[in-house]
Structure formats: C-alpha cells, structure tokens
Amino acid sequence: MTAAAADFRASAAAALADPQIRANFRRAMDGLMAKRAALFPDPAEWQALRALGAAIRARSLANLPELLERLEERCRANGIAVHWAETVADANAAVLSILRAHGATRVVKGKSMVSEEMHLNDFLEAHGVESLESDLGEYIVQLDQETPSHIIMPAIHKNGRQIARLFGEKIRGAQYTEDVDALTGMARRVLRRKFEEAGAGLSGVNFAVAETGTLVLIENEGNGRMSTHVPPVHVALMGIEKVVERLEDVPPLLALLCRSATGQTITTYTNLVSGPRGPGEKDGPREVHLVILDNGRSRIYLDPELRATLRCIRCGACMNHCPVYTRVGGHAYAAVYPGPIGKILTPQVEGLKARHELPHASSLCGACVEICPVEIPITEILIRLRGEASHPAPGSTVREAGEVRNPWEDLAWALWRRVHASSRAYRLVTRVLTRLRRLPAPRLGPLRAWTAARTTPRPAPRTLHELARDRGVRDA
C-alpha cells in the first residue's frame, strides 16, 4: 500500500465532496439495514443466536492450532491437497504453481476476500494467466479496473446507470441498456463461455469444518458452484481463522451470516465441497486444493483481546450500519476490508505506522458492536489500537506498536491530566474560562476544526461547582 493510497483523511474528504457517492451509499445501506432488521424481529432470538455464534467462533479460535491440523488431516483424507501460506507472496506462488502444473492459462473466480488480500488477479495477469471474476459485483468492479467498495456488495458504489454505461463501453457487441435483466444477461453470456474454457476455478471459503474436512461456500448467483465444479481443478482460498470445529457449528453461523449480510434467511446456493470427483461420479473437479493464508492473522491471534478480531464471519453488517462508512464509502479506506472491521483489521495486518489513523476515524457510536453477529467488541479494539500506536501495552504483539509518536499530542494529554487530576487546578481553569466566557485559541488547532461547521462553544458565566455551592448543595 502506498502512502498516498493509505491517506484515509484525504480520500474521505474527496468522497464527502461527491454527492453521487453519498447518495449511492446512503440508499444502499438503508436498504440493507431494513432487510436485516426484518429478519431479526425478535430481540430475544437475536441475542440468543448471536451469543451462540460468538461462542462458536470463540471456541474455534481457542483451539485454532489444533483445529487447523485436524482440518488438514481430514482434507487430505478426502483428497483435498492443503497448502500453507504465511504471506501473500507464498499464497500467490502456491496458486501459480498449481495452475502451471495443469497448464491453466485461464481461470474463473468466485468471490473471495482473501484473493483481494493477495491482489491475486494482478499477480496472475502479470504471470500470463487470465483471471476472471464471476460474481456479478466483482465482475463489474474488475471490468472498471476498480477494487470492491464493500465486502459483500463489491459494486455497491455504482448505481444502475453507471453500470449500464460501463457494460456498453466494455463488453464487446453490447447494446446500451439500463434494463437490469438485460445487463445481467450480458454478463451471464460472457461468463458461461468462460466457465467452460477455464483451466481452473478459484473460490473463497466461508467456513472450513475440521471434523469432516468440508469447505462451506455460500452464494446467490450459482457462479460459486460453477467455479468450483465445472473447471477440472478447484483452488479454494481461506484465511486461517475460517475453521470451525464441527459440522453442527455451521447452521447457526449461516443463519447469522445470511441474515446479517443480505437480509436472506438462506442464500440461493450453499455449497459443501468435500473432495474432488470420486470414482463413478459424473461431475466435479478432478483436483481440489486448499490454500490456507496467515498474512498477519497468527500475530493477531497472540493477543487474547485482539483475537476477537478473528471471529469475523465477513457479513459486512458493520459497514451497513456505520455512519462513517455510509458517508465516505468503501474506497476511501484504501483497504481490502473497509468500514469498522477494516478499521481494526487493517492496522493489525499492515502495521500501525501507515494505518494508525484508521482506528481514530470513528465516533465510537457503537452501531457496529450492536449488530455484529459474533459480538466483536469493535469499539474496545479501536480504543486499544489508538493507544498501541503511541504507548503500547507491556509485551504488545501489535505490528509496529509504539512506533507512532506524536509529542504534541502527548503534551496535550499531559496538560489535560494535570488540570483534571487536581481539583484545585481544575477549579482555577474553569473559573478563568467562565469569567472570560471564551475558550483559548479559537483560531488554532482543535477549536478551528470544530468551528468550520459549528459556532464556537461559549462557557457559561458560572460553573456548576459555583451554582451548587451558592444554592446550598452539600459538598462531600
């Protein structure tokens, strides 16, 4: 990530100035929130289900090393080849070597956020492999040479007209139309041919079941099933945290995921991949590979509080409910994972030096915590990371902890502490401010930023301390 791309502040300001972005996101997020709310009508049921989901994910993480070993063993027994990748480069190399072994120069891809972490499309193109996104939203984004702006709805930043224009320009032989069915039909015709030509299909993994070696993949368009079943080789990509212990752990998580993500009780397709084509079977891939990526996750795993970050099931509900995301959109974060989950995940993966601003880009309103289906304490982790940047906890394992010093801020909080830890100093300062009836330095620093959009706050003539004493309210 370049320094320019990581400048959240600048890209957020640019996004705010674009009324089209704000309108597209506001409308889309309102729709998603309403659909989700309709499927959780009973607060007691919701609380019980999310407590179960959180417990399943916490239990999976508590036994992560052991579950990963069991997953590998069960997958191998099922005929799925397992490849471990510590870094993005390792994962890309593993995918490329599988493709080369089969002479595959064209691949189709189902939706996978891990592949976005890997920048896999760019990597494959650079190595002579055409990689085509088959999820409609991802296809749109790829066609326009963009990145996803939302982890569930990658092209949510575009409205219908923008997509119509894009298809008209980029799809060979396409007639301009704004008819949604006609547009979908166009993409479908392109993709159908590609599924048949592809030497391999790539996909993500929603959950990997350790006890059975099953890869669970949900989707709505059938492209996931096509990507994983039509080409002769299937390569599945997952982060190490996606493992769950038992098959019976999956249904509650799917109920939470589908309802939270898209407001569906269940997705149109639920794929359970348990191995390559067996003897006598007429379809399915001849080989299945599973690439398991770490990319900083095991470092997050080391910290018992921060580990909750890894519970995430990638539903995107935190984005849909975030008042910041709704206004700046997904691209402003210049990160694979935008929104609240991105604000806690990205700095831990990429390091605090380049990403220390992200945890501050929150009013700590807690809307994300309230709707997270696995109870990730996002605001607590945001506050933790704010502190880790400049003065880390003893023994901190956070990447680049303590490497973002800001002497001015340290000084400001030292002064604040001085004033507020001593009632005498505090009473002196508040007495002066109430007598002056103004705050210091109105044209500098924080107050200036405040007054760009608001009037200057004016201290009252007398403090509550004074009023209380004068009106006979007993002191301690």
């Binding site: 502040r9 206004r327 001593s422 959009a453 403090t463 009106r471 301690a476």
Partner: protein
C-alpha cells in the same frame, strides 16, 4: 438524612450547561433525596480513555473515585460519562490495587433519566405552554447503558409537550469527542444530516441527555441560523414542572431570581 445520592456533574455540564446540572439536582431533591455534590469533582476521564491515553485517564478517574466513599447512588446527567464510569472504569483499573473500590463505584452509577424513571418512578405535572420538541438519543446511553424509553417516558408525562421523533433517532450526531476535531469533514457531514433531520421535525427545542451531542448539534444549528433551541432534558423537565419560584420544597434555597429555572442555555456565537 432520609436518603442521599451523589451528583456527578461532568465537565461539559460544568463549563457549558451548569443550569442543566442544577436542574438535575433539583429534580432529585424534589423526590425527597439529599443531593451531595462533591466539590472536588472534575472529569470522568473519558476524553483521554477514548484517545488511547489510558494512564492519563486512570490518574483522573482515580481522583474521582475517591470522592464517593459512601455507598450512595451516583447520578450522572450524561449517558456517555455514566457509561464511562459504569462500564469502562472496571476495564481501566483491571490489574490495579484499587479495582475493588472502582467496581463498587461502577455498580452504583446511574444516568439521570434512567434513575428518575427506574428507581424513583417520578410523576411530573406540566406547567408549561404547548410546545413541540424532538429528542436525540445519544449513542452511549443507547448502546452502552440500554437507555431507550426512559427519557421519552418522562417527556410523555408532560401534557403540553408534543414529541416528534427524528427520522434517524438512533444515528450518531458525529460528535465522538476527539473524532470531531480529528476528522472534522466526516463529523461535519454527520452533524449536517442530524441538523437537517432536527429541522424537518418542526420542533422548537432539541432535547438530549448528553452535552457533547448538544454542543455539536446545537453548534451546527446555530451556524445555520436555525432557531431550534438545544437543551438538556433535565433543564427542560425542571423548567416545566418547577413550582413557582423555582426551588424544590425539599431543600429551600435562597434561589437568586432568574438562576434556577427558565434561564437561557449558554449561548454560542461566532467570535
């Protein structure tokens, strides 16, 4: 003493909305409580805590904890500060020697409207003129303390008050403490939407129970020339229900004219 409570005013009330604090004290006194206001209080420590300066927050919080030795309830006219004390003090003092004292305090912290409704079951009689108001539900009261209906239940007792809800009552106003000055553009976009939502209700007063939100939304309303008056709910309730003269019967006061009730809130004005 029949029954005593502590009042923790908070730094924003102290400096910007002291009449809201006094109104809160009067509402409690009218219920027959003796209110104790420790003069040593300053700030709950939330600004530093939220900014990641835990040590500074702890030093300030520790000075507050010492002010409430008796096992009385501590009433706070702010959901955000009450949540800091009830929910976050125990985290902040994890592993510290004084954790037991901190936990004991945290367990008896109450937000004002919550205490008036749940613990005291106050009955209010409206003495005011008909008025249309709207209500901003602050995030920390809502999500960290679970206070949803209590403030509205108090307003519903006032016969001449028409409460018109915001279209997005549960959406953050964009204050967020240091967030508002670290990311002024995003915060400004949020408060602009909130101010527009307030204006669309046709209310003449915007009520809230958190002074950070009031400073933010009120400052935006004033900047746009709106006549909507931002007020803390305690001040509004007391003004409309206070006996003539302003002071509560439980604790007769000298009550300098014009200071107890009906005084305009702190004005904001551009320099």
């Amino acid at each position: 003493m029949s029954h005593a409570v502590y009042f923790y005013g908070t730094c924003l009330v102290d400096l910007f909305y002291p009449e809201a604090g006094m109104a809160g004290i009067e509402l409690l006194r009218r219920e027959g409580l003796e209110v104790v206001f420790p003069q040593g209080q300053t700030c709950c420590g939330q600004p530093a805590f939220n900014s990641g300066y835990a040590a500074a927050a702890r030093a300030v919080a520790r000075a507050q904890v010492a002010l409430f030795p008796e096992p009385w309830p501590v009433i706070v006219p702010s959901g955000s500060c009450a949540a800091m004390m009830r929910r976050h003090y125990p985290e902040l003092f994890a592993g510290e020697d004084d954790l037991p004292a901190v936990e004991a305090l945290a367990g008896r912290v109450h937000e004002l409207t919550e205490y008036l409704v749940r613990e005291l079951g106050v009955r209010l009689a409206d003495r005011g003129q008909p008025v249309r108001v709207t209500w901003h539900a602050s995030c920390h009261a809502l999500r960290e303390l679970g206070i949803r209906e209590e403030p509205k239940a108090l307003l519903a007792q006032l016969a001449n008050v028409e409460l018109v809800g915001l279209a997005r009552e549960r959406e953050c106003c964009g204050f967020g403490g240091t967030f508002a000055v670290r990311f002024p553009e995003i915060s400004a976009a949020m408060v602009a939407d909130k101010a527009a939502d307030v204006a669309a209700t046709g209310a003449v007063e915007l009520l809230a129970a958190d002074c950070g939100c009031l400073l933010n939304i009120g400052g935006k309303l004033a900047k746009t020339g709106s006549v909507v008056r931002p007020r803390h709910i305690a001040e509004f309730l007391w003004e409309r229900t206070a006996p003539p003269g302003g002071a509560s019967s439980a604790a007769p006061l000298e009550a300098a004219a014009g200071t107890a009730a009906g005084v305009p809130p702190p004005r904001t004005g551009d320099p």
